[in-house]
């Protein structure tokens, strides 16, 4: 087994040097890590699992990578090896990203972007890598399903000073402020995306397209008390029936509050707060504005 292991590792190295990532991964996955004959330490097992996952990820094979990351997850909690732990985190985030679990991926990327330590053994983490992780976090959040959970993550990212220096900041700002995104902005954002983030879905929308439609629908719900299917379709750039379908799914999934009147062909949007509470909030806003004026007056000695 020892000799087979050495041969497999050497062959994997050769495949890697020829950029045959999946073949290298397959070669390494043939190593019996649970052999009863030889005792392999957990760090070695973890390093092999992570290495195999990383190789599969080079070919965007999330399913195969996930199998090995899942194995690694049993070993990582007891691991003191900082480099491996970090590599595991990055792999996990990328797998979630590839599987389009964007919100979870965003949280993991964000976690990685916040590491304080820069030196891990011989490896140095540069600022650019952290910036890439932060950008990935923002991208995944924007692509995630619009709703309250995404809003919370958006708030965290928007309030993080580091995000204001990213190229992607303008679109983050618009998404956080729940503003409607127009085609030029969406096209500019699309240029920075990876292929799986622009892939076609069974309903004939792309991943990006659906995310943008849902975001714009939610933005419209903040601007309108009600809107006809037709106008909504025009606003979103899709046929009215599709607009209705997406709206109904979002309402059903509790990601947007409202009701649909199919007879009048109108969507009624509801606020999260009741009318009387909104009234209360308006009065509160008025009192705050009044206080601001009084403060302004006293500053000016009036």
């Amino acid at each position: 087994e020892e000799q087979v292991l050495v041969i497999r590792e050497k062959l994997a190295e050769l495949y890697e040097s020829e950029r045959e990532w999946s073949k290298a991964a397959q070669m390494l996955s043939g190593i019996d890590l649970d052999s009863g004959i030889r005792m392999l330490d957990d760090t070695y097992k973890l390093s092999k699992c992570v290495q195999i996952a990383r190789l599969y990820l080079e070919d965007d094979d999330a399913a195969s990578a996930e199998a090995f990351i899942n194995k690694a997850s049993f070993l990582v909690s007891n691991s003191q090896h900082e480099v491996l732990n970090l590599q595991y985190k990055v792999c996990y985030a990328r797998i979630l990203d590839l599987k389009r679990k964007f919100l979870e991926a965003a949280l993991r990327y964000y976690d990685i972007s916040q590491i304080e330590k820069r030196q891990y053994g011989d490896e140095e983490i540069d600022e650019e890598a952290l910036e890439q992780a932060l950008t990935a976090a923002v991208t995944c959040t924007i692509l995630a399903a619009a709703g309250p959970q995404r809003s919370r993550v958006l708030a965290t990212l928007y309030k993080d000073e580091r995000c204001s220096k990213l190229k992607i900041y303008p679109i983050l700002q618009k998404v956080y402020l729940e503003r409607i995104l127009r085609k030029p902005e969406i096209d500019a954002f699309a240029e920075e995306l990876k292929p799986h983030q622009k892939a076609l879905l069974p309903d004939n929308f792309t991943v990006l397209g659906r995310a943008m439609i849902e975001h714009n629908l939610l933005s419209a719900s903040k601007l309108y008390t009600n809107i006809s299917f037709e106008e909504l379709g025009t606003l979103l750039g899709i046929p009215p029936q599709k607009a209705e379908k997406i709206a109904s799914r979002m309402i059903y999934e509790d990601r947007m509050r409202g009701s649909i009147d199919q007879v009048e062909a109108v969507i009624h949007f509801e606020d999260d707060t009741e009318e009387l509470q909104q009234w209360d909030q308006q009065i509160f806003g008025l009192c705050q504005a009044l206080n601001d004026i009084l403060d302004c007056m006293s500053c000016k000695g009036i």
Binding site: R179, L223, Y224, T225, I227, E264, I293
Partner: protein, 224 residues
């Protein structure tokens, strides 16, 4: 307050610039300043600039129309411009946009519910999509107005609108409104005070009544 904070620096900048341009030689530059100020995307107030003495001197020059334009942007609307277009210079697109934004603020001064028909007339817009895009992109996202669009009722319900420059004659109305607020608040507070007193009184009576009954019960028990 946000709008005022954002434009305070701009107002200062233009006022300082205007103060340094006086006399006949300064007139063309003042006219250019007026165009720049009335085209600026973040400036919605012009009375400070208007009150700079050098601007008033434009009246007696061939650039008096610039002063008219500044007054229009301070107090007027797009409809007023159209009625006087013959006497006024042609506005650049940025100025047209600004004047239409200011017209929305003027409409919001008198009504909270703005019908689409009225808005389309005032803003020279031919369809609902164009109107809503204008209200969303140029008014709500610009932060000068907050509200909700109602397609069923074809109206825009205003929740907040930034204040425009005020003419002297508008002050009386403002004072009257605030006096009404004061007197309504006073009577409401008095009313609440009375209700509190009444509630306390009823509570005392209730306690006394309860005590009386308990005493009678005890007496009855003793006599039995």
């Amino acid at each position: 307050m946000d709008i005022e904070q954002k434009q305070a620096e701009l107002i200062d900048h233009f006022v300082k610039k205007a103060r340094n341009l006086d006399g006949a030689a300064g007139a063309p530059f003042l006219a250019a300043l007026v165009t720049e100020a009335t085209s600026h995307p973040s400036l919605f107030a012009f009375s400070e600039i208007l009150s700079v003495p050098s601007l008033a001197e434009l009246e007696r020059t061939s650039y008096s129309s610039s002063l008219e334009v500044l007054r229009l942007f301070a107090y007027g609307t797009w409809s007023e411009y159209k009625s006087n277009a013959g006497r006024l210079p042609i506005l650049v697109p940025a100025q047209v946009l600004k004047l239409k934004q200011l017209s929305v603020l003027t409409l919001a001064e008198t009504n909270k519910i703005l019908p689409y028909d009225q808005l389309m007339r005032e803003l020279d817009v031919s369809n609902v999509r164009e109107l809503e895009d204008f209200l969303i992109n140029e008014c709500m996202y610009a932060g000068i107005v907050r509200g909700k669009l109602d397609q069923l009722r074809r109206c825009f319900e205003v929740q907040f609108a930034a204040g425009r420059d005020l003419k002297h004659e508008q002050l009386d109305n403002m004072i009257k409104t605030m006096s009404n607020w004061l007197s309504t608040s006073d009577s409401l507070l008095n009313s609440i005070q009375d209700k509190i007193k009444w509630a306390d009184m009823m509570s005392e009576e209730h306690k006394k009544h309860r005590k009386d009954i308990e005493e009678k019960v005890d007496e009855m028990k003793k006599s039995l």
